[in-house]
């Protein structure tokens, strides 16, 4: 009853303060709208300077492809000493696997961007889901066979190199796509050039006088390019949705601005003492634990009001789909729990020091720092890796990550670690608060 009365009173006091109301409710709504709209076009930015980790899945069988190619070539007419030539070619200049892995991915320039590991499909998907790789490149069944056929014959077999990307890392996926596209386009050009050359030579009765008609060759190459037979397909992880700028900043601003509730709560205890209402509560028989609990749940309620407001606003006004409602509720409650713990910790330290320096430092430095490393300003993926690790120590970073996953359609089993961390932060803060206030003893009033 007492705690409930204190919560109601505190909420009334805070909500009667127009400045505080503006900071905790209006600002996130305004900032989300502005940032979402402004960054809508180029949203999804990730770090271009870091290496993109990819998993490569070989779905072809090199030996099988080689045998199959030999058979094909053997079936073709008017070829002499075919077996020997093909064997030499495959082991030497036309070893497509060697070209792809050693010459292409092993190229110094490419190595600056791409770090790859070979694995099977299942393991690759698992690595992608765990965030250990940014994309998967799937080299399809018959890859080597088709590549060689396209090179050695006038046949044109379609080769679908699949790039499976994490929607959370759309830029990484785009980089991989571009690089793969560059590789395949080069190959296509070579194949086309070869085809045009062969076809022209045949038209000329087998002579090599085709260079006299180079303009025709180029024209034909252009036409053939439109029918390129090597394609790269971008596929997102099954069931996962990319996040729009509206979705991203709704989460980012929500998780950042709930920290301001902790900031408000951080001042509360000392303000009560300065107004002597704290002393009045004590002499009314209200225990210190009740007062702390009252402050804790006030911050909790305030943060919950903020999250509810933001979810409602972004859903109905910005059209953001937050994902599974149960998961969203779970994240919201645990984020509020952690923020409340943080709030009463700041409050107890401020109370103990007897001045507002601690609360000021929290509001001006710590909140901004957490907002930065937690990804509230920019996606955390563009930060150096140590900052990305730090983000998992920040309340907003953990909440942001969890909301993101749920918004993209991930299941609970992929966010529980973050939720456990939020819970842990809350519990740790409460424990420290109790220790700090236990040390304090009774309140000095005279």
């Amino acid at each position: 009853m007492r705690i409930l009365s204190m919560i109601i009173k505190d909420l009334k006091v805070i909500l009667s303060d127009k400045k505080a109301l503006g900071t905790i409710l209006l600002m996130p709504v305004i900032l989300t709208s502005i940032l979402s709209a402004a960054l809508q076009g180029n949203f999804g930015g990730e770090d271009f300077t870091r290496t993109v980790d990819i998993a490569i899945v070989k779905e072809y069988d090199k030996e099988k492809d080689k045998e199959k190619l030999k058979d094909t070539m053997r079936d073709m007419s008017n070829m002499v000493d075919l077996e020997m030539d093909i064997e030499n070619m495959l082991d030497d200049n036309l070893d497509m696997e060697k070209i792809f892995f050693d010459e292409f991915l092993g190229n110094e320039d490419i190595k600056k961007f791409i770090d790859y590991k070979l694995t099977d499909r299942e393991k690759a998907i698992s690595l992608l889901k765990d965030g250990e790789v940014d994309s998967i490149v799937i080299l399809p069944d018959n890859f080597l066979y088709d590549m060689n056929v396209n090179f050695l014959t006038t046949y044109r077999n379609e080769i679908d190199i699949k790039v499976v990307g994490d929607p959370d890392k759309s830029i990484s996926t785009q980089i991989i796509e571009s690089i793969m596209m560059g590789f395949t386009e080069n190959l296509s050009s070579m194949i086309i050039g070869k085809n045009v050359f062969i076809e022209k030579a045949l038209e000329e009765g087998g002579s090599f006088d085709v260079f006299n008609n180079l303009d025709t060759v180029i024209e034909n190459i252009s036409e053939e390019l439109e029918e390129s037979r090597v394609v790269v397909k971008n596929i997102t992880i099954e069931g996962k949705k990319p996040i729009s700028s509206f979705g991203y900043y709704s989460i980012a601003m929500t998780t950042m601005f709930i920290l301001f509730s902790a900031g408000l709560g951080g001042r509360a205890l000392l303000e009560e003492k300065d107004n002597t209402t704290y002393q009045r509560m004590i002499v009314s028989g209200t225990s210190k634990a009740d007062i702390i609990a009252g402050k804790f749940f006030t911050i909790f309620s305030l943060a919950l009001i903020q999250i509810t407001t933001m979810i409602t606003f972004s859903t109905f006004v910005l059209g953001v789909d937050w994902g599974n409602i149960i998961n969203v509720v779970a994240i919201s409650l645990l984020a509020c729990f952690a923020v409340s713990g943080l709030g009463i910790l700041i409050s107890s330290l401020t109370f103990k020091s007897g001045n507002y320096k601690m609360a000021n430092v929290f509001e001006t430095v710590i909140i901004q720092g957490m907002a930065l490393v937690g990804g509230s300003f920019f996606p955390v993926e563009i930060m150096p890796s140590f900052v990305q690790k730090l983000s998992l120590l920040s309340v907003n970073g953990l909440a942001l990550k969890s909301f993101h996953k749920v918004m993209m359609g991930y299941e609970f089993k992929l966010i529980w670690k973050y939720l456990l961390s939020l819970f842990g932060i809350g519990v740790l803060c409460i424990a420290i608060t109790l220790y700090v206030l236990k040390e304090r003893g009774r309140v000095k009033n005279a």
Binding site: M1, R2, S5, M6, I8, K9, K12, V13, S16, D17, N275, T276, T277, Q279, R280, M281, I282, V283, S284, G285, T286, G441, R442, V443, K444, N445, A446
Partner: protein, 311 residues
């Protein structure tokens, strides 16, 4: 009947003794005054009695129970009116009273009834829907008192409740205190305003530098300086040699003059009027007035400490 007993109470802050071995008791139904200048230790004493501070030494008993072993014993029965306005300025008067009532376990119709009653007592019934920040200083002080009355305390502790307010509000508060006491409430009233303590208090403890320097009813305290009554004689012109003539009167302890006024400090209760008038009549000057000053607590304090209360 003794309601509250303070025994050898001492409170030190680092090397400062804010309260130094004081002892007194408060009887049921009385208004007990703690009088002293700022820094005398009144607020520290009140804070200890209110369970806000632990004493360095000594004990406080409420109805025979040690309040530091069982703070609830006094907390439930006590209302405290702090020197500061312990209210939430951005909330309405009603919301403030409702909150404090809730903390004392009041709810529902009982709470509403009590809010009405205390608002009536302090004269703020028609101002409860106004935010406290829009109250005058006097109204805030009255609401501050109302919040302490909600749970119908047996003992009310008021720490300088009239500081910084207009005379009208001050009179209202003093009337309220008397009215509450008339209804049976025991009150501990601290002030550095001698007139308030004189007007209100049944018994008075005069404090200075953390110690109780005098304790008793007003009459008992005044009796300390009974023989030090003053007579002021106002002349058109002070006659020559009159001061010397007055000094030889046996009952006169001291003769002083200021402008056209002669101030006589008497040794005892005997006014020795005849002797004084004989000396005056033998002069050519006209006497304009004779004023017999009754001893005050101010005079008692001055007598005991050598300083005025407001020094």
């Amino acid at each position: 009947m003794t309601l509250l007993k303070v025994e050898n109470l001492k409170k030190s802050f680092k090397d400062v003794n804010a309260v130094n071995d004081i002892t007194f008791q408060v009887n049921k139904g009385e208004i007990f005054g703690l009088l002293g200048p700022n820094g005398a230790g009144k607020s520290t004493t009140i804070s200890i009695i209110s369970t806000l501070l632990n004493p360095t030494k000594g004990k406080v008993f409420y109805r025979g129970e040690d309040i530091f072993k069982n703070p609830k014993a006094i907390q439930e029965k006590m209302g405290v009116v702090p020197q500061e306005i312990a209210l939430y300025p951005t909330l309405k008067g009603y919301e403030n009273l409702k909150f404090w009532g809730n903390l004392y376990g009041l709810k529902g119709n009982n709470l509403k009834k009590r809010i009405d009653e205390v608002a009536d007592i302090v004269g703020l019934k028609d101002k409860l829907k106004t935010k406290v920040e829009n109250y005058s200083g006097g109204m805030k002080r009255r609401l501050n008192i109302a919040a302490a009355l909600l749970h119908e305390p047996e003992i009310l502790i008021m720490d300088e409740p009239t500081v910084g307010i207009d005379p009208q509000s001050r009179n209202h508060i003093l009337d309220t205190v008397l009215e509450l006491n008339k209804k049976g409430m025991t009150i501990i009233y601290t002030s550095h305003y001698m007139e308030e303590v004189e007007l209100l208090c049944t018994r008075i403890s005069i404090m200075d530098k953390g110690q109780v320097i005098a304790l008793g009813t007003k009459d008992e305290l005044v009796n300390i300086i009974k023989g030090h009554k003053k007579i002021e004689l106002t002349f058109d012109n002070i006659p020559p040699n009159l001061l010397d003539k007055l000094k030889i009167i046996e009952e006169v302890e001291e003769v002083d003059s200021k402008d056209n006024i002669i101030i006589l400090t008497m040794k005892n209760g005997d006014m020795a009027f005849k002797d004084i008038l004989d000396k005056v009549m033998g002069t050519e000057s006209s006497i304009l007035s004779i004023d017999i000053k009754k001893p005050s607590l101010e005079a008692v304090f001055l007598h005991l400490t050598g300083r005025a209360l407001r020094d």
